[in-house]
């Protein structure tokens, strides 16, 4: 691979922050170890148990996510692999004496009575046994894939359960195994979690991770890339099974008693819940999900126990009544609005929002009854605990997540130190950089590469103030990339962009907007669901001083500014001839009006520099003629600099006082319209070399 470096122009793809990130990881691990030391000394038995469960569930969730989210296979057999891991490990760590005591019905099988290994080896063997079974099951059904794999693995888990119930010589039958040595403490569990993460992340971050995802996304395309998809799928499945076995082994030693019926489908369901809630395809999500779901499952046990409601206490404390009534009324009002908003006819949304209405209505009715001294409600009553309620809530949650937020908490995003530090980075005080007189923006030596492709090559432009200027070039010349560099979507590898003395290349897109550079997009990007007015008002947000929490408080400052924004937006629409469309949905506007609205929205941010990306695209000669007048009007009335990308030569030559021409990311010409029109390089770029020869 060494030969390719020259071609890619020095791009190595190495993370410049690798050292910092590695140190951060080490620091986080050290911190986690300290946390565990603290937990070991300070938490009670129940809390420790929970903390242990979180680690084990995290191992199980990460392994299932590896199969689901990365290798794209649907497996429902996790409980089966856990059972194998738990039993194999238990058989290895039970002492021969214990085995004599446990296997009463039928003596234990042959040499097993003398086997005794250390805990680590036993967990490893449990994982390996699970992986082996995974291989045996994967081998026949892997080529079928899809739903068949799901049902076959489910069947496998059931077979394991039935087999373990009916094989007393190996498993002691339905009674199960008791008194398994409780080796699985915090240290072991978290160490295994660390190992799981290390192995799985190492694979996912390597090119083999890309291979797995390619099989997930398009198996046929992956095969044509020379990938043995069956082999990789089998590998991923077995690795997932291995860690499921490890999780099962740890679980067995944590709870010290295992029975075949423990490893039912509910167990798989819980882990699936973690993976889905965290986000299919996000290891970070699985870790967060493991903590959230494990704790929720514990805390929600409350609702399966009776709850005492003491109305006398409640009625004796006025503030409690006021608080509860206020909350109920607020919830009622909010839900009513949601129901009204969801339109006519029956819909899912309406049905869902009706539930809180009923609930709050009942609470309020209860209060009214008490105030009227009606004895319909007893002063003290108990809401009985309802078994099954907890899993009911969880299944509803699972369905709601999958319907309304399929990506879970994290989607397929991952935690990264780069994102972490970006979040905490304090913007540096920038020194003003002197600029040439009369220049609005200076682009100097900007180079932008994507992998081996150089999209912009050493580009320098000095853009004069208060002028309309153009950037042209054939398709793929890198024009839009220039816009994306200016507006902070791309960070160029070299060079800088200076705007009003301010270096721009490290700014976020929103900061670029705040300093006064606005843009439109080649493919119109309006907020399609909002009205024309709402789109423009959104543009005003960047200059807004009031904050969101002032809205419910109805502060005077908020009111004043809100009205101001509304007035200003109307005025803007009126100036651009869109006033009568103010309440139309943005998406319903005709094409030309959408283009104008996008410009109006950009102007609402009070820019002093406006970037227009192909404003005349898709317009007929008459429309583009109007657009030219419109652009000149905007420049004069709003007193700003406009840089536009445009293919329509009539528009470019008509309104631009200065033009830059890009080809393959290089500047090939610049000058006034007449210079450009007659420049042979430009003609050949547009029409091919032959045209210049014959011309």
């Amino acid at each position: 691979m060494t030969t390719s470096t020259a071609k890619t122009g020095g791009y190595t793809g190495i993370d410049l922050n690798a050292d910092r990130n590695r140190n951060s990881t080490l620091g986080a691990v050290a911190l986690a170890i300290l946390g565990l030391v603290w937990a070991n000394g300070h938490l009670d038995g129940y809390q420790m148990q929970l903390l242990n469960l979180v680690a084990i569930n995290a191992i199980l969730a990460v392994s299932l996510n590896f199969i689901y989210g990365f290798a794209g296979m649907f497996s429902l057999g996790h409980a089966g692999f856990m059972a194998i891991g738990a039993y194999v490990s238990a058989l290895c760590i039970l002492t021969p004496d214990q085995k004599d005591m446990i296997w009463l019905l039928e003596p234990i099988w042959g040499p097993l009575n003398t086997v005794h290994t250390s805990f680590f080896v036993s967990v490893l063997l449990g994982g390996l046994a699970a992986a082996l079974c995974g291989f045996l099951i994967a081998f026949p059904v892997m080529r079928l894939g899809g739903d068949y794999l799901g049902i076959a693995t489910l069947g496998f888990a059931e077979i394991i359960r039935v087999l373990f119930t009916n094989w007393p010589a190996l498993t002691n039958g339905a009674i199960g195994l008791r008194g398994i040595p409780a080796y699985a403490n915090l240290w072991w569990n978290y160490a295994w979690l660390g190992l799981t993460l290390f192995v799985i992340l190492a694979i996912l971050k390597s090119n083999f991770g890309n291979v797995l995802k390619s099989i997930r996304d398009d198996e046929i395309a992956a095969q044509t890339m020379g990938i043995n998809t069956t082999a990789y799928r089998t590998m991923a499945f077995c690795l997932g099974a291995f860690f499921a076995g490890v999780g099962g082994a740890l679980m067995g030693s944590l709870v010290t008693t295992i029975q075949p019926k423990m490893f039912n489908f509910l167990l798989t369901f819980n882990i699936m819940m973690i993976v889905v809630a965290g986000g299919l395809g996000s290891i970070t999500g699985s870790l967060v999900g493991a903590a959230v779901v494990t704790l929720m499952l514990e805390w929600l046990r409350i609702i399966e126990y009776p709850i005492d409601v003491n109305m006398t206490y409640l009625m004796g404390h006025a503030w409690l009544q006021v608080l509860i009534t206020a909350l109920a009324l607020a919830a009622l009002w909010f839900s009513f609005r949601q129901v009204r908003k969801s339109g006519r006819g029956l819909s899912m949304k309406k049905a869902l929002w009706s539930l809180p209405i009923v609930f709050c209505g009942l609470i309020l009715a209860g209060f009214v009854l008490r105030w009227l001294n009606a004895d319909i409600l007893p002063a003290e009553f108990t809401i009985p605990g309802i078994p099954g309620m907890r899993m009911l809530l969880f299944s509803v949650a699972l369905i709601l997540i999958i319907i309304f937020r399929r990506q879970g908490m994290m989607g397929s995003r991952e935690f990264s130190w780069n994102a972490f530090y970006r979040f905490f980075r304090v913007p540096e005080k920038q020194k003003n950089i002197p600029m040439a007189k009369g220049a609005a923006m200076e682009i100097s030596g900007v180079t932008m590469r994507f992998g081996g492709v150089t999209a912009i090559d050493n580009l320098s432009m000095t853009i004069p103030e208060k002028k309309v200027v153009g950037l042209i070039g054939p398709n793929g010349a890198g024009k839009t990339t220039v816009f994306n560099v200016i507006t902070g979507f791309y960070r160029p590898q070299e060079g800088r962009v200076v705007f009003q003395g301010l270096p721009m290349t490290q700014l976020e897109p929103r900061t670029v907007c705040a300093v006064g550079v606005a843009r439109t997009f080649q493919n119109i990007r309006l907020f399609a669901g909002g009205t024309v007015l709402e789109n423009v008002m959104t543009g005003c947000h960047v200059r807004q001083d009031s904050r969101w929490w002032m809205a419910p408080l109805r502060l005077p400052m908020f009111h004043k500014e809100e009205n101001e924004i509304r007035r200003k937006s109307y005025a803007l629409l009126a100036r651009l001839g869109l006033a009568e469309l103010a309440d139309e949905k943005a998406a319903s506007l005709p094409y030309g009006a959408q283009r104008r609205l996008e410009i109006a929205r950009a102007l609402a941010t009070d820019p002093s520099f406006l970037l227009l990306d192909e404003p005349a695209a898709g317009m007929n000669p008459q429309e583009s003629g109007e657009l030219m007048r419109f652009i000149e009007k905007v420049r004069d009335e709003f007193d700003l600099t406009i840089l536009m990308i445009e293919h329509d030569m009539k528009v470019v030559m008509g309104v631009c006082s200065h033009i830059w021409v890009l080809e393959y990311g290089r500047l090939i010409a610049e000058g006034g319209p007449d210079d450009i029109r007659s420049n042979p390089k430009v003609i050949s770029a547009y029409l091919g070399h032959q045209a210049t020869e014959t011309a």
């Binding site: 649907f74 899809g146 739903d147 049902i151 489910l154 039935v162 899912m348 699972l398």
Partner: protein, 297 residues
């Protein structure tokens, strides 16, 4: 084994097999159209059994009326489940709909636990069903005749509907090519709802008869028959109604006869179906009567 015992086992097998077949039809129809395993189907079966219990015991409806009410109620449930939990996910990756279906399955089971409590309920059996028919040394419950008969009638009706009516034509067309069928002006959502309704009605019928045969109703009674019926559908060839019937009867026979001939295997009864599944997937992945579904490249 004596001949009498064999006859009794034969009818047992036929009964269980017919019930598997009725449930399997629901799986196979939905899979044929949407390529999606409706995990909650077994729980619709359970709800059907509860409906007739409450219809007959709580509301004191006459038995046939209660049966009709239970079937209609379950069909409505099937349609509602599709509307709420599956239709929003038609365009989503397949795994999402599957997870949603598993969620619905747990929802129905736990809703049953919350509303009906976990206490097993006795099924209400009409007098004439309880007294066995005695032919010489053979004692056979009337239900063992009724179940295969009712099943045969229901399957005939379904086949007529699928092969001789316009909605049936639309169903078959959707299972070939959903997009083209949409372009032909068929209301896809309505046909899919009809499919769910029919499948659920058949599952409820099976649930009612199951409760007659094994008179204990509890919220998790649908889990195992559900899994096994799905396996029956795969064995018969998923997407084929005739295949589902064949698979169901075959699976019932294997289960009953294996235990009849080898009583020592009775502990493994629940595992037979899954072993059969894996064997079929190994040697004939499209099932006995199924056609190969190819992915377009």
């Amino acid at each position: 084994m004596t001949f009498e015992l064999f006859i009794q086992n034969f009818f047992n097998a036929l009964t269980v097999g017919s019930l598997y077949a009725l449930i399997a039809i629901g799986y196979t129809m939905v899979y044929g159209i949407l390529r999606f395993i409706n995990f909650a189907h077994g729980d619709v079966f359970m709800v059907g059994a509860y409906f007739i219990f409450f219809g007959a015991a709580t509301f004191a409806l006459p038995w046939p009326l209660a049966a009709v009410a239970a079937i209609v109620g379950s069909a409505a449930l099937g349609i509602i489940v599709d509307r709420i939990a599956y239709r929003p996910l038609r365009e989503a990756p397949r795994i999402s709909a599957l997870i949603s279906a598993i969620g619905v399955s747990f929802l129905l089971e736990n809703l049953g636990l919350v509303i009906f409590t976990g206490l097993p309920r006795p099924a209400v059996q009409p007098e004439w069903m309880v007294n066995p028919i005695i032919l010489g040394n053979i004692r056979i419950l009337p239900i063992s005749f009724i179940v295969p008969l009712v099943t045969a009638v229901l399957v005939m009706g379904l086949l007529w509907l699928v092969y001789r009516t316009r909605p049936g034509l639309a169903m078959r067309a959707i299972s070939r090519d959903i997009e083209t069928t949409r372009l032909m002006g068929v209301s896809i959502d309505r046909i899919i709802a009809l499919t769910f309704g029919l499948g659920s009605a058949l599952a409820a019928a099976a649930g009612i008869m199951w409760a007659m045969r094994y008179p204990q109703i509890h919220p998790f009674m649908g889990v195992m028959p559900g899994f096994k019926a799905f396996i029956a559908a795969v064995v018969g060839g998923i997407g084929s109604i005739q295949g589902a019937v064949l698979g169901g009867v075959l699976l019932g026979t294997v289960e009953i006869m294996a235990v009849a001939f080898y009583p020592e295997l009775s502990g493994y009864r629940d595992a037979f179906a899954f072993v059969l599944l894996i064997v079929i997937l190994l040697f004939r992945p499209t099932g006995l009567l199924g056609e190969k579904l190819d992915d377009k490249i």
